[in-house]
Structures are given as structure tokens and as C-alpha cells.
């Protein structure tokens, strides 16, 4: 059996007194894609953001329960959020490249970490952009602003930017919902390429997308994890009535 890289036990999250996550138990083994689906407002983003501690930035958030990354408590007082976020990268709904060149965007994390070797930086830029399947489109204008790219290209540059710091887990929060269908399918193809090397957790409200790319799918509703299983079981043969209703479009 493969080792679980990330485990969540009895995770509760409160925004003030509002309970947004009501005791989530969910584990991820290494590599592969897990999709988080569920009606809007059910807590998918909230859950995803507990995994790299992005919720720390919001005032009045209380979190109880345990999240372990490779056996270490993510919320231990000694845990280093900066280091955690290097190992657990995140891609957002809205492409958010920095207002710098494509090249600088990709190596920003490394450069700030102190890497100066030009050859190594060049190599990382090429490798990351290739992995993100955007190299051929941008290789001739690496030193132009990333903001001049299309939304889909920007999003793939953002993926490359995350890959460049060599994370083990990549979190994506509806990465294609702001993109056109062609760009969306390019992102999907990119993720399918990456699933052999990274543990990928993606929030999507697009059920077809989940069924196309995810090895495993978790269905959330009202702050609870209703069901998690191999994607084809969730879509063909869900164990839970609520899952079935959601999949067949009866609500949400």
C-alpha cells in the first residue's frame, strides 16, 4: 500500500462562530489527482486552503483537528508556514502572475530563496514551463511581461511558477473557471501530465472536468465530506443518495 502523504482528521473550521467545515476526515496517498466537488459554498475552497495554511491570513478563523503532511502536524506551533507553502503549492481561480516578465515569474520563488546560478535558473524555467505545457508558446518572449499573455497562458505560467519551487503537492482552486473551453482543456492536459509526479488536489464545480481528469473524487456538502471514492464509482455507482442527487444534477 502506498504511504499517505497528507491526512486530515476531524477537521473543523470556524469563521467567527460560523462552522464552515464540520469534521472532515480525508487522506491523500502519493501522486495522482483528487477532485473536490460539491455545491457552491459547501466548503471546498475552505478545506483546500487549510492544506497550505492560507486560512491563517483571515482574521477570526479557528481550526481544530489534525492535518499531517508526511507524518508532521501541519498546525504544530513549530511548523514553518513558509516551508509548508513551498512543499504544498497553490494555483488560484483567477490567474495571478506577478507584473513581471514570464521568466521572472517562474523563477521568483527560487531567486528569493537565494539561487543565483544563471544556468540553473534557465534550466528550471525551461523545465517548469515545459511541464506546464506552455513552453512552446512563450519560449520566444520569456522576457516580456506575463500580463501580456492570454488568461489560459497566464494560468499555465502560474502552474510553472509553482512547479519551479519543486512542491510535492499542488492545490488548485477552480483553476479553469475563469478560462475559455480551449484553455481549460489545455490546463486539463497539463494536469494529466503532472499526475505521475505530483499529488494534485483540485477543486472544481465542473463535474465533467472531475470525471475526465481525477483518479479519485470527494463530494462535499454543507461543510461535510459526504463521500470519497474512485472517480468512476462516484459517477457510476455512488454509495450515498446525496452524491447521486448531486451528480445527476438534482441540485447545486
Amino acid at each position: 500500500m502506498k504511504e499517505d502523504i497528507l491526512t486530515t482528521q476531524d477537521l473543523h473550521l470556524y469563521y467567527g462562530d460560523k462552522e464552515a467545515l464540520k469534521g472532515i476526515n480525508l487522506d491523500f496517498d502519493e501522486k495522482g489527482i483528487t477532485a473536490l466537488i460539491g455545491p457552491s459554498g459547501c466548503g471546498k475552497s475552505t478545506y483546500l486552503r487549510t492544506l497550505n495554511r492560507m486560512n491563517d491570513l483571515i482574521p477570526n478563523v479557528t481550526i481544530t483537528g489534525t492535518i499531517k503532511f508526511k507524518g508532521n502536524d501541519l498546525y504544530a506551533p513549530s511548523a514553518d508556514t513558509v516551508q509548508i507553502r513551498k512543499e504544498i503549492g497553490m494555483v488560484f481561480q483567477q490567474p495571478n502572475p506577478f507584473p513581471f516578465s514570464i521568466y521572472d515569474n517562474v523563477i521568483y520563488g527560487l531567486r528569493i530563496a537565494g539561487e543565483k546560478d544563471k544556468e540553473r535558473l534557465d534550466a528550471v524555467v525551461e523545465k517548469s514551463l515545459r511541464q506546464a505545457a506552455v513552453w512552446d508558446e512563450v519560449k520566444d518572449h520569456l522576457h516580456e511581461s506575463a500580463l501580456a499573455l492570454s488568461g489560459g497562458q497566464q494560468q499555465r505560467v502560474c502552474i510553472a511558477r509553482v512547479l519551479a519551487v519543486s512542491p510535492e503537492i499542488i492545490l488548485l482552486d477552480e483553476p479553469t473557471s475563469a478560462l475559455d473551453p480551449v484553455s481549460s482543456s489545455q490546463i486539463e492536459a497539463t494536469l494529466l501530465n503532472l499526475r505521475h509526479d505530483y499529488t494534485i488536489i483540485i477543486v472544481t464545480h465542473n463535474l465533467q472536468q472531475a470525471s475526465r481528469i481525477a483518479d479519485r473524487t470527494a463530494f462535499f456538502m454543507n461543510g461535510e465530506l459526504i463521500e470519497v471514492d474512485q472517480t468512476k464509482n462516484i459517477f457510476m455507482n455512488p454509495a450515498n443518495k446525496q452524491t447521486e442527487d448531486y451528480i445527476s444534477g438534482r441540485f447545486g
Binding site: 513558509v82 507553502r85 488560484f92
Partner: protein
């Protein structure tokens, strides 16, 4: 009256008011430039003033204005930058930050003559700095700090939060995110704010009358040792600026060509401030373009 005509009347009167404002502005500028520009010459811009005779220039005042501006900016920019970063990027909403914000708000609405009097009592008298460049620079700092802090805070606000999240999610620390992502992205807007506030400082008179003083002793422009009394760089010498000069000539000038010198000085002041404004817009736009596009 139906809502359509109402709408038309409203828009019409707004256009009217806007037009009136523009007209007044143009008339003022036109008057100052038309009466001032003919007085301008290289001699006028570089020669020292004459108290009783005609033919004096404003060279020393012009130098003083720039020197004070630079000193005031050197002191106030780092403080304002730090304060703005703290307030916008770090501070939580609590009584302390509310107090700071209120203080900034009040400071920025103080009449500059009050700032000048405070500067006189505190720097000139209490700290024994006398009527000097240094007293003036400190007074200008007090005058400039609240405005500059707010303008830098506004610049930071223009950088979207998705950039902050992007930096943090990439494993940058808070500080790295601020200094390496947010600040560079805000530079064009910060620069614009700095130059615009430089324009305000450059034209300021009331805060300087009792701090930097109203006399412009002769300077020796070959002596750049700041410890010598006639050196232009000496920060302890009194230094009348262009704006103060205009005020002074008009209230007590006794040279025969006072009117002409006053007009010429006003034109120089207005032109300098206009240049600041255009420079701010131009540089801000160019920097932003360089950062954001091909």
C-alpha cells in the same frame, strides 16, 4: 419635469460647473505666465537677489527650494513608506491603528501655517536649530508625512490581493511578499504620489516662513563643504525659498522692480510645479508599462 429632462439639466449644470473651474484655472495660469514669463532670463534664474536695487535674480531661492525639497523628501519618504507598509500590510484593526490613522488624518488637515508655527517653537527655538534649512526640512516633513503616507497606502491598495496570495502561496514570507512582489508592483503609483507631493512641498510657503527663514544669504557655489557657512550645502544656514520669496516681496519688497520679480518668481514656481505634475504622469505611465507589458 420628467426624469429625462431632469437628467439633461443635471448633466448640463455639471458640465457648466466643470467648465467654470477649468476656465478659472486657465485664467489664473494664463495671468501668471503672461505677466511672469517675459521677466525670465538666465540671469534672473541664477543671479542672487538685490534688496534695494533693480535687476536682482532668484538663483539662491531657486537652489534653496530644491535643496529643501530634496532634504524633506529624504527624511519623509522612508518614514512614510514604513508607516504605509505597516498600516496597510501588517496592522490589524485595533485601537492602536485606529489612533494612528486618526492622527494621520488630523495632521494632514492641519493648516500649514500651524505646522510652521509648531516648527518654529520646537525646532527653531526649543532645539536651537535656528532659522535653518534643517528646521525647514523638518517642518516640511511634518507637512508632507501624512499626505505621503496616505498616498503610498493608496498605492499599496491598488495592488490586488491575489498578488499577495500568490506570493505567500509560493512560500515567500510576508516580508518577502511585500518587498519583492507588492512594492515593485506599486512603484509606478508610489512614484506618481511622491512627485505630486514634491510639487506641493515645492510650493509651500507658510510652513517655511518661520522655520527656514526669510533671508537668503549669499552662497559661494564653489564651496561644497557643508560645514562652511557660505556653502550651499550647509544645513544650518537660513534659506528663503522661492515661495517664501514671493510672499515676502509682495508684503515688504522695496526693490524698484519688486512687481516684476514677484511675477517672474511666480511663473518659475508654477512652471516647476507643472513640470512635476507632467513628470509624475509620464514616469508613472512609463514604469507601469515597463512592468506590465512587452
Amino acid at each position: 419635469m420628467n426624469s429625462k429632462t431632469q437628467n439633461k439639466v443635471a448633466i448640463g449644470s455639471l458640465y457648466g460647473i466643470a467648465g467654470l473651474v477649468v476656465l478659472i484655472l486657465l485664467a489664473l495660469l494664463g495671468y501668471i505666465l503672461v505677466s511672469g514669463v517675459p521677466q525670465l532670463s538666465w540671469h534672473f534664474l541664477t543671479a542672487p537677489g538685490k534688496a534695494f536695487l533693480k535687476g536682482g535674480g532668484v538663483g539662491i531661492q531657486l537652489f534653496n527650494s530644491f535643496y529643501l525639497l530634496i532634504l524633506a523628501m529624504l527624511i519623509s519618504f522612508p518614514i512614510a513608506l514604513g508607516a504605509a507598509i505597516y498600516l496597510y500590510e501588517y496592522a490589524k484593526d485595533n485601537w492602536l491603528t485606529t489612533t494612528i490613522r486618526t492622527a494621520i488624518e488630523i495632521l494632514s488637515s492641519l493648516p500649514s501655517v500651524v505646522v510652521g508655527l509648531f516648527g518654529f517653537l520646537f525646532f527653531v527655538v526649543k532645539l536651537h536649530l535656528g532659522f535653518s534649512i534643517l528646521s525647514g526640512a523638518f517642518a516640511l516633513t511634518f507637512f508632507n508625512l501624512p499626505l505621503l503616507t496616505r498616498s503610498i497606502e493608496d498605492s499599496l491598495r491598488t495592488v490586488s490581493d491575489v498578488q499577495r496570495e500568490g506570493g505567500l502561496a509560493l512560500g515567500l514570507s510576508r516580508w518577502e511578499t511585500v518587498t519583492r512582489v507588492i512594492l515593485p508592483a506599486a512603484v509606478p503609483s508610489i512614484l506618481t504620489g511622491v512627485i505630486l507631493s514634491a510639487g506641493r512641498v515645492f510650493g509651500e510657503a507658510a510652513a517655511l516662513i518661520y522655520t527656514a527663514g526669510q533671508s537668503a544669504p549669499a552662497l559661494n557655489f564653489t564651496d561644497w563643504n557643508p560645514f562652511n557657512i557660505s556653502s550651499p550645502l550647509n544645513p544650518m544656514r537660513p534659506a528663503e525659498t522661492l515661495a517664501v520669496h514671493i510672499w515676502k516681496i509682495n508684503s515688504e519688497g522695496i526693490m524698484p522692480d519688486a512687481k516684476a520679480i514677484s511675477s517672474g518668481s511666480s511663473a518659475v514656481l508654477v512652471i516647476a510645479i507643472l513640470l512635476f505634475n507632467f513628470a509624475a504622469r509620464y514616469l508613472g505611465k512609463r514604469l507601469y508599462k515597463r512592468l506590465t507589458s512587452a
